[in-house]
Structure formats: C-alpha cells, structure tokens
C-alpha cells in the first residue's frame, strides 16, 4: 500500500484507542512519537493499511511515584524522563540512558513506549529497565496485564504484546538510599548514535559492610534481546566489594554477550567493550 493511501486514525482518549484495537488489528499499526515507525514506513519495512496515532493520549503521559514504585506512562518522551525530578531522584540509570538517545529534536518527540514496542536490541532504555526489574503494563479493552520485562521480549524484535493490546506504562521499585546504579553507552558520537554496546547496573540493599543484597547487570546491543549477566551478578555478592572483584566480575559478563558483526562494530570488539563498560558502570555505582 502506498503511503498516500494509508489511513491515520487519531483516537481522542484511551478507551477509544482500545476499542479500535479490539475491532481492527489487521493491518493496523500503532504510531506514537513516530521516530521508528515513520522511518520503517518510508523504507517499506512495514506496510500497514492504517495507523493508530496515539500520540495525543494524555492519559499515557505521566511520571508518578506510588507506594515506593515509579510509574512512567508509555507516551512520556525522553525529555519528560530526563527532566522529571522523580526519575532523576529514583531512577537515574534510566535518565542517563534517555538523555543519550538521539539529540534534542528526538528527545522532544520519541516515547518510552515506542522504544519498548520497537523492540530493538539496541533500544537504550531497555538495559536500565531490565536492571530495574521493570514491569510492562499492556492493556486491551477489558484488562491490564502486568508482564515482567524479561518475559515481555520473546525473541529478536518480538514482544509478548497481543494484537489488541498497547503498552500503557512501565513501573519499577524506586532506587533508594541504599541502592546504586549506573548506565554506560558506547556510540560512534555523543548525539544521534545507535549503541555499539550499552550496559546498566543496579545494586540494591547496601549493608553496613558495603555489600549489596542483589545485583543486576544488563547488556544491550550484544544479543537478539537484552541480556542479564547472572554470572557477573553472582560475583558481586562477595564482600567486601573491591575494584578487583568488580574487574573480575565484569570479565564474566563477556560470556553473556553473543553479539554479531555489523556496521557499528565487530562481534569481537563488542565483547571487549562489554567488559570495559560493565566495569565502568559498576565502578561508578559502587565507588562513584
């Protein structure tokens, strides 16, 4: 179908959007900020008959804190996430990732839900959301489904989202006083660069001896989906935690990277970069 023939439906509220999704999912594609979908449309990667333009659904644009959890609406832009005091205080690895996506123009339009739905293994908000144990909330006409982010991604660019569902929000436990975290990205330049590798770390529950109750180390752009390095996470339970431990733990993360060669970097290079970035992120989180 030619782009000039594609119909664009703009619902006025969430209920209307969900009713449309319920009735006509065939050939229908959701578009939010548009930064991925419009490029895919023009490249012919997707050929929908109709676009469901949800950008103006204000109900899905919010950052809130409730019962110790941060809730972010799917239509929050990277600018919203970068500037919200709630995310800055309680979810800074996600802020660091969001602030490095694209440049000013993209940050004003591109949305968190779009990054989740596009399901690129190089989606920069995904490693921090994995490290934060985020829950993705999918909604259809009759119910909301809470999906742990690790289960939300099924395989390369494939999510657990059903045709009648849309991503409504994500939520996760806030980072508190005893929690640490950091994000690191390597791109070819600072702005508008797709990640060669990016990593996030979240360490929760620091005790009096400086050890952490639990650790998350997550790797982006090195596998069909985001990977957790459980071996690295386990190595971080030793105490006292030293730079030597961080160094050997970050080497373990290379085994969980199964990258490909592509235009941005070779597989071999990416594996080396994983160890460096994980070390930097852990060093910042623990000693920074």
């Amino acid at each position: 179908m030619m782009r000039s023939e594609i119909d664009v439906i703009t619902p006025q509220n969430l209920d209307e959007a969900l009713a449309i999704l319920h009735g006509t999912p065939n050939g229908l594609r959701i578009v939010a900020g548009g930064s991925d979908v419009i490029v895919q449309l023009r490249d012919g990667v997707i050929r929908p008959q109709k676009l469901l333009n949800i950008l103006s659904l204000k109900e899905l644009r919010f950052v809130r804190k409730r019962d110790g959890r941060i809730h972010i609406g799917a239509l929050s832009t990277y600018h919203d996430i970068t500037t919200s005091p709630l995310t800055r205080d309680y979810a800074w690895p996600l802020v660091d990732a969001s602030s490095q996506i694209g440049a000013v123009q993209l940050q004003n339009t591109a949305t968190l839900g779009g990054n989740l739905g596009n399901a690129s293994p190089a989606g920069d908000t995904l490693p921090p959301l994995y490290a934060l144990d985020a829950i993705v909330v999918a909604r259809n006409k009759s119910e909301a489904r809470e999906i742990p982010i690790e289960q939300f991604y099924v395989s390369y660019r494939k999510t657990a989202l059903k045709p009648d569902e849309l991503i409504a929000e994500v939520h996760f436990k806030e980072l508190g006083n005893d929690d640490r975290g950091a994000y690191r990205k390597l791109g070819l330049r600072e702005a508008n660069a797709i990640s060669i590798v990016d990593v996030a770390t979240v360490l929760r529950g620091r005790d009096s001896e400086g050890a952490f109750r639990e650790a998350r180390v997550t790797l982006g752009a090195v596998a069909p989906t985001i990977r957790r390095s459980r071996a690295c996470e386990q190595a971080l339970s030793q105490k006292p935690i030293t730079r030597e431990i961080l160094k050997s733990a970050s080497r373990l993360a290379t085994n969980d990277a199964v990258p490909i060669d592509d235009i941005r970097g070779s597989a071999k290079y990416r594996k080396e970069v994983v160890a460096s970035l994980v070390y930097e992120a852990l060093e910042e989180a623990v000693f920074g």
Binding site: G34, L41, Q105, L106, N108
Partner: protein, 152 residues
C-alpha cells in the same frame, strides 16, 4: 488538516500519513526546512512545534493537527531577521547554507528557553544538526553573539 504555521492558521488537504515536512515543502511551499536524511539524524528539517524543536521528517502531518509550528521563515518579524539570523550573517556562519535553516531554528528554540546559554548548552542544543561543510565553530560563535541581543 489544520494547524498554526508561522502565526497563521492553515488548512491543507493531504494524505494523513505524509510527514509534516512533506506537507510544509510540497503543499504549503515553505522550503526553509530541508529533507536530507529523513531519519531524524541530520536536523535539516527542524521546526519548532509547540515551543520545542523537533524533526518535521519524523512527524505525521496528522500529528501536527492543532499544533503551532514555526519554521525559519516564521522567525522573521515585520521583515526583520531575528538575532540568530542576523548573527549568522554577521559572523559568517554560513557556507553552503543547506543546514542553516535547521541550525537557526534549533538555536532560536534554545534562546527562547534559555537566553544565556553556555557554550556546552549551545553545543548540546545543536548536536542534532549536522553541517557537512563542518563550519561548526562559527555557528557556535554566531549563537553566542545572538544571545547578547536576544530579547525574551
């Protein structure tokens, strides 16, 4: 489809899945914004939408419905160039000129929000605008100059 363009209400009949940029250039003949990469990487198509700089190549015209759009043309008031436009001429910040409307729109959007930016803030604000003549230093100088005479 209707929105406010450079202070005037416009209504245009066009396919709803066209980008705002296509409609600006091809239907409304507003040619300040340019199409280069069509992927949101070069910034040549930058316009101000409801106060924020955005890539008009990555917005459906349907998504601009009811919004307020400013292009480089709209920065001219009563036939007078705005301080950024003046400073680009004054400081010789223009080489081939192709990226300049996008640069000027991004820089003006910055000064609208922050009339006294640091060099780093200027660099960040322009990091989504590529100049393939690589004339960046005079562009930065021009924005600094414009900030001196910018009135909020």
């Amino acid at each position: 489809m209707s929105f406010k363009l450079n202070g005037e209400h416009v209504t245009v009949k066009c396919p709803p899945a066209y980008t705002l940029l296509e409609v600006l250039r091809e239907e409304l003949h507003v040619t300040g914004p340019k199409e280069d990469c069509a992927k949101g990487e070069c910034g040549a198509c930058t316009v101000i939408k409801d106060g924020a700089p955005v890539c008009s190549c990555l917005i459906l015209v349907s998504q601009a419905e009811g919004s307020e759009i400013i292009t480089s043309e709209g920065l001219i008031k009563d036939g007078k160039l705005n301080p950024v436009q003046e400073a680009f001429i004054e400081k010789g910040a223009v080489q081939c000129g192709h990226c300049i409307p996008g640069m000027i729109v991004s820089a003006s959007a910055l000064l609208m929000r922050n009339p006294n930016p640091s060099v780093n803030e200027i660099r960040t604000a322009l990091s989504g605008n590529l100049c393939r003549c690589t004339g960046y230093s005079k562009i930065i100088t021009a924005v600094q100059e414009a900030a001196k005479s910018w009135k909020q």
